[in-house]
Symmetry: C2
Subunit: 186 residues, 2 copies
DNA sequence: ATTTAATATTAAAATATTTGCATATTATTT
DNA sequence: AAATAATATGCAAATATTTTAATATTAAAT
């Protein structure tokens, strides 16, 4: 259900888009707080149109295949507003790596260290991508501070900040874990 | 699928347990990296028994209803070991609050601040619980340092550390967000 | 005595997510 | 000319998770 609202918030803030555009937007930016596949996105956009939360227009293209561009409707905006006002619970965490660590004494420490190093790289890459996004989308933050942003931009910047914190924390924890396991090797 | 392995790792490390005990263990500790409902737990324990990964024994009790205690088998241990050796992907993040923030300009800033303060409390409570767990389960860490732990304990301590980092980061981010939104109020 | 709480477990429907497969158009490269 | 890549979209099965609804035993509280 929240997927629908994540889509609506993208249509509202990032503007009207085709399913393909939304998917790209999700892959690039939104995945730092909501991951979705293209199958989910296309389906949900169609279902929201049935409910009148989105409307669509087919755009003929010569350079590329035609596309269907979706926009948020007034009803969609109302629904989104109502949803934003609802309290939300923290996400259920399901982190395989932690279960693996708990029974990590079953395998050679080198295997754990290798996997942790791999994970650290993944999160470092994620962190770099988010920082690049911050530099691109919010350049004034670095010169004039976050207060220079419009209210709308500042809100989205906060979501990005959370992504940056999250990935940073992962990188640091991986480092801590690699060091710790190293203590037990001779 | 990972649920099965999260269960096996608990049976291995925390010892043989009834479904009820496992659920309690998940609610108290394991939920910091793997959340599961009791319905999931009981079902998966039964299914793993069919596959020979766990075995069970009915324990007659007089003070309480009878219970079925599950243990990990050699096969289960082998399967778990093989799984631990597999690389694992970072979890897909799905955080409603961030989508709400992105379209947060639709509602009064006070509503956002109230929700963020509520969330901050939830994460502060989670953090306190994890720190209490650390003090209870790993008391020597505070006196003799983490190096005093056995390898097995240290590995699990690392998972707990990740939980502590995660909740701390949330508390800090909530503070940052509350301050930021405050900047736009007069 | 009756209600409430804790222990202990199960079934099944409803949702959500993942995975595999498919199709079609246009631009670009080999 | 043919292959590849990017754009653009869809269906359906398989899994996983959440939600709703039960049932039964024992201890403790009202």
């Amino acid at each position: 259900m929240a997927l629908a609202y994540a889509l609506l918030s993208s249509l509202l803030v990032d503007g009207s888009q085709s399913g393909y555009d939304v998917v790209k937007c999700f892959d690039e930016q939104i995945s730092c707080y909501w991951r979705a596949t293209h199958q989910q996105v296309y389906k949900e956009l169609r279902e929201m149109e049935k409910k009148g939360w989105t409307c669509s227009e087919t755009i003929a293209q010569t350079q590329r295949p035609n596309k269907t561009v979706y926009s948020i409707t007034d009803l969609g905006r109302q629904e989104l507003t109502a949803w934003v006002l609802q309290p939300s619970q923290p996400t259920a965490i399901r982190e395989e790596l932690m279960a693996k660590l708990k029974s990590g004494f079953l395998v050679p420490p080198t295997a754990l260290i290798a996997e942790l190093a791999r994970r650290q790289q993944i999160h470092q890459a994620g962190l770099n991508a988010l920082k690049a996004m911050e530099a691109t989308d919010f350049p004034t933050v670095f010169t004039a501070g976050a207060k220079s942003l419009s209210y709308e931009a500042r809100l989205y910047h906060l979501a990005l900040r959370r992504g940056i914190r999250y990935e940073s924390e992962w990188v640091e924890w991986c480092e801590e874990a690699i060091q710790a396991i190293g203590d037990y090797q001779q």
